[in-house]
Symmetry: C2
Subunit: 344 residues, 2 copies
Amino acid sequence: MSGFLPEYSTPATNRRVLLTSRPEGIPQASHFALDEAPLDPVGDGQFRVRNVYLSVDPAQRGWVNAIANYSDPVAIGSVMRALAVGVVVESRNADVPVGLHLYGWFGWQDYAVVGPEAIMTRIDTVAAPLSAYAGMLGMNGLTAWLAFTRIGRAEPGETVLVTTAAGAVGSTVGQLAREAGCRVVGLTGDDGKVARCTQRFGYDAAANYKAGDVADLIKGMAPDGIDVFFDNVGGPMMDTAIRQMRVNGRIVQCGTASIANWSPPPHGPRNEREVLMRRLQWGGFVIFDHTARYAQAMAALEALLASGKLVHDEDIATGFDAAPGAIARLYAGENEGKALIFVG
Amino acid sequence: MSGFLPEYSTPATNRRVLLTSRPEGIPQASHFALDEAPLDPVGDGQFRVRNVYLSVDPAQRGWVNAIANYSDPVAIGSVMRALAVGVVVESRNADVPVGLHLYGWFGWQDYAVVGPEAIMTRIDTVAAPLSAYAGMLGMNGLTAWLAFTRIGRAEPGETVLVTTAAGAVGSTVGQLAREAGCRVVGLTGDDGKVARCTQRFGYDAAANYKAGDVADLIKGMAPDGIDVFFDNVGGPMMDTAIRQMRVNGRIVQCGTASIANWSPPPHGPRNEREVLMRRLQWGGFVIFDHTARYAQAMAALEALLASGKLVHDEDIATGFDAAPGAIARLYAGENEGKALIFVG
């Protein structure tokens, strides 16, 4: 076993975090309950994963909302859908041996009994601390690398603006943009994160969007305009940033975290003319469309990580009690780095 | 001379249509005045073009508005900026001989004294009626072909929705989409245009957006959703259509004709989440970015025209008196086909 691996406990029952009511907007602790259930049997072709790190992701908000999304809503009374990193402890699938580490759709629980369709990535060699496979080498890093590369398409010398600049995705985009030879500026939600952007993640400039007029803040950081806008929030920051885009700019719509409720959609200034006059290319990115490129992205990220050119922070809570409130905590901006829960 | 060419008169003075006041919104006849001036001298490197067909274009609204646009606003008291087709009648430029027909920035006047930078296309062989070079073989056709090809990127079997479906650009896009093997549906502003869309331009279905709920109209024509939305209008039709896009759809923003005033921008439902969830690619198209591809587009359009697969209508007024009210008439939807003014 690699020195990157913790010791795992082997509970006799399955602790689970269930969705107990349907949130409108951001899920709170009160929408979940903990329970404990007997272990499910492992069917033919299936395997049992002992979860080690549960992932907490902004996208979980969408998975529990009733409105149409890119996946069916989590059913009331069922285990909260989540990504996790774990290890195979029992297997009736020859391709997935006991001892293999996996990153996938294992839910907020101790044990998942699943088939291969639940695997997002196989961790054949554990080449970094296991937690990294749920963040920088998981959905967050893959999202940053693939969205920036495929939709952002930044050229050296261009200016890149990132929202949620200190977040798990944003901080990676900032570093990838810097490595691509861009000027990188970021918007984030408090002064501590501003400092982390410039001191830890290598942003050329960063600003607290709550501390001034956003149009002025962007203009101060990017006086000649923005070539690539990597947006995780939508809303007023989008309204302002799109009006400072340079001709032929690209907008990566990777999230809409600033808007708590889309039903009905809130109103804002129309952007058709900005798209037209600035010849923008505004594209939506959902990681699950890009499975064929995960291996390429992981290899690139592992190389950057190994070379020390890419840093990442993790905010790791311990135990299931942390889970119910974890999504709300994320939307309140209280985490510093990728939010994970250690349950191994 | 080709049989496609009319006879031209040779006035001794230059009749001109001047912009006399700055419109807010759509320019009306009252914003213009006719005058008559002596002929300008032809400088070294310049040439004199006798205009034959003046073009009337939706984009002229933007050229006279004071707010920032992709070109400087037309100055008060100067000749209205316009494209036109004409013939060189005097030249001090060896590359631009007398008798050559040109399409370019010659303004609403009898004669333009210009240099080569004013040429949009050279008409070395007049292979179609001269008026076509101001429409189907001019900015409208080039816009349709390049925007549809470069941003729309429709595949056979996809569904394409076109707004201003019977217009000079829209009707061409509709036919190009049909030739590309797509299902093509259109929105237009009266029942006569609906009939022209299906009977003359080969749309699979068309609807009068004033005659029903636009969401229902689109759903009726494209029950499985839209892959490519070629939009010339923005506004409420955009709001509705974007919510019926299929995953990985493309939006070509080619105009925003439904919005009379962008200062300040009107508000509408936010589209960030639609872009994200539907993985849209929303791109702005301005023809002047694509000069390097004009020849490719013209060759393709000429071939389609010669084969009879592409039809186009022209709405040709005669004489300068038609010019001042021509843009307002266009926005009122009163023209049937490409609006031109014959002044030859």
